[in-house]
Each structure stands twice: as C-alpha cells, then as structure tokens.
C-alpha cells in the first residue's frame, strides 16, 4: 500500500502523519511537496495533514486549496482513490470543494487543544470499517476554526445521505451542545463525500495512535484503510476501483 502526505508551506503535522503511517504494516509512505503536479504511481491514500498551511492566511486552507498538487488530488479522488484530510487538511478539502461545507471560527473564538470524545456514526467506509457503529472513541482536537457549517437544506441532505462519520459526544455517545467543543453544526466532527472515498475530520487520529501519546483509538483508521486496500486489491488487482 502507498500513501502520500502533502506538505504545504506551514504544514505542521505532516511529520506526525508520516511517522504514524510508516508504522502501519505494509504501508509505504512519502511526503509530497505542494507544487508537485503528479502523485507517485499506485498511490492508494493521499493525506492532507494538520497545521497552518500558508499561516491560515486569507481563510484556513484557502491558499493550499489552490496549490498545483490539488488538481492531481482531485483526479485521484475521481478515480476512487482515498483522500484523508485532518484538521487543516479538512479545511483544504472544503475550500477545494472536494468536501461540502466550511470550517468557521470556534464558537468561543479561542484555539482549543484537548482530548475529545467522538461517536463513529458510519462504519462502511474505507476509513472506519474497523470500528463498531455508535462506538465512542477519543482523539485530541487542536484548532481555532473547527465549526463545521452548511446551510440548513444542505445539512439535511448530508445527513440523509449518511455522510456524517464522526460526531462530538459524551462518554455515553450522546450529543449535546455542552460537549460540542466548537459549535459545529449537528455536532459534526468529520464527514465523507457522497462516494465515501474522501474523509475530512477536525480531530487528529495520528495523535491517538500510540498508548503513551493520546491512546490508540486513532489506530483503527489506519487498520480500516489497510483492510480496505487489501480487499480492494484482491478484488480489482490494484489499489483502486471504488
């Protein structure tokens, strides 16, 4: 399996993503500079990491979404390849319209970094097949602009199509404004596109992939991806074909 982690000027969590992916058995991973125009051949997964690409200038993710590599990421997604956007990466995905919505300043207008409980609402995606539906997991958040927004009618459609994958919740899995750290609409922490091969989430799974650093709930995302790639590989002879 092959991953590429896109590095924009100002990306911070690229090295963390590279390190975490390198520990996934069978995974080859390399960084990819924002002004490259092609992905390495047979790339299964493209990761847009967290950080402050272009300093969050203009709007978080706005400038990165116009980088040369994004056209290639779009083509990869169109072919059914996997794309994972974490935190700033999620912001880049919404800015480039690979995912619907926008990430606005947090309700309390402050940056917030702390562990966070999430409910896994969809497990038939390449990213979450190793979880149980309704499972409560813990990943840390670290962001100032994580409030997911969509106009009401589009939100309804998003829900109806089952595109919401992760929601902020309490220890029993219940959603409530009091456990929503940033005011995100419908307590949405992460979504997939209609097709299900592009996932964006604000919390950081790469910060929850080691028992000593944030716990291991994030590991199941990599396990899911690995399982999906292996099954798909058997079915269609290479990593794609979603």
């Amino acid at each position: 399996m092959r991953s590429a982690v896109i590095v924009f000027p100002g990306s911070n969590c690229d090295r963390d993503a590279l390190r975490t992916l390198a520990e996934v058995p069978g995974m080859e991973v390399e960084p990819l500079w924002h002004d490259d125009t092609t992905l390495p051949p047979e790339t299964d997964l493209v990761v847009l990491p967290g950080g402050f690409s272009y300093g969050d200038y203009l709007r978080p993710g706005a400038l990165a979404a116009r980088a040369p590599i994004i056209a290639e990421v779009r083509r990869h997604a169109d072919r059914g390849g996997l794309v994972l956007g974490i935190c700033n990466g999620f912001q880049v995905l919404t800015e480039s319209r690979l995912l619907p919505g926008a990430l606005l300043p947090n309700r309390d207008t402050r940056f917030i970094c702390r562990p966070c409980l999430l409910r896994v609402d969809r497990t038939d995606t390449p990213f979450t097949n190793a979880y149980q539906k309704g499972q409560v997991v813990q990943f840390p958040i670290a962001h100032a602009d994580g409030r997911f927004y969509l106009p009401e009618e589009d939100l309804a459609q998003l829900e109806q199509r089952g595109q919401v994958v992760f929601r902020y919740c309490d220890v029993t899995g219940r959603v409530d404004p009091s456990v929503n750290p940033n005011g995100a609409a419908h307590h949405i922490a992460g979504i997939v596109n209609d097709r299900g091969n592009v996932l964006g989430l604000m919390p950081h799974p790469e910060r929850a992939s080691d028992p000593r650093i944030g716990g291991e709930d994030g590991k199941m995302i990599w396990d899911s991806i690995r399982a999906w790639c292996q099954n798909e590989g058997k079915r269609s002879g290479h990593g794609h074909g979603f």
Binding site: G101, A102, P105, N106, G183
Partner: protein, 83 residues
C-alpha cells in the same frame, strides 16, 4: 490605467459570526450600551492595471470567485477607483 479595488468581504447573513459576537460583548462591557450588532469582515485592497474600469472590475470579480471570497459563507462588495 491603474485602479485600486477595495473588496469588502463579509460573512453571509445566515452565518453565525462568533468573532462579531465576542466583540459585541466586549464593546458593551466597555460602556457602549446602545450598540445592537457587530459583524466582522475584511478589506482586501488590490491595485490592478487594466484598459478601463469595466475590465478592471471584471478581473477583480474573477479574483473574488477564484480565491478571495468563499461564496458558501461570504459575500463581497467591490469599490473601484482610478489612480
């Protein structure tokens, strides 16, 4: 000809402006009981070279569409002056 375009970008009215809310509270606390609403936007100032004002405006509007304004959540007004 040279023109300066001032692009005033604001959040669409349906979008909750948490920064505006925070500033509203601060202003109230600083002793301005009469204010009703605060919304926060940004001004982007661009100097362009174009044959005439219409072309300058058209180019600026393209910039807005391509980068400067996220039309899901923002709207903009363009003021143009010849330099």
């Amino acid at each position: 000809m040279r023109f300066r375009a001032e692009i005033i970008v604001t959040l669409k009215s349906g979008v909750l402006d948490t920064q505006g809310k925070a500033v509203f509270s601060s202003l109230r606390r600083l002793g301005h009981p009469g204010i009703e609403d605060v919304r926060i936007g940004r001004v982007i100032s661009v100097v362009v070279d174009a044959p005439d004002a219409a072309e300058a405006r058209s180019e600026v509007e393209t910039m807005c569409q391509n980068l400067l304004v996220n039309d899901l959540i923002e709207e903009a007004r363009v003021d143009l002056e010849a330099l």
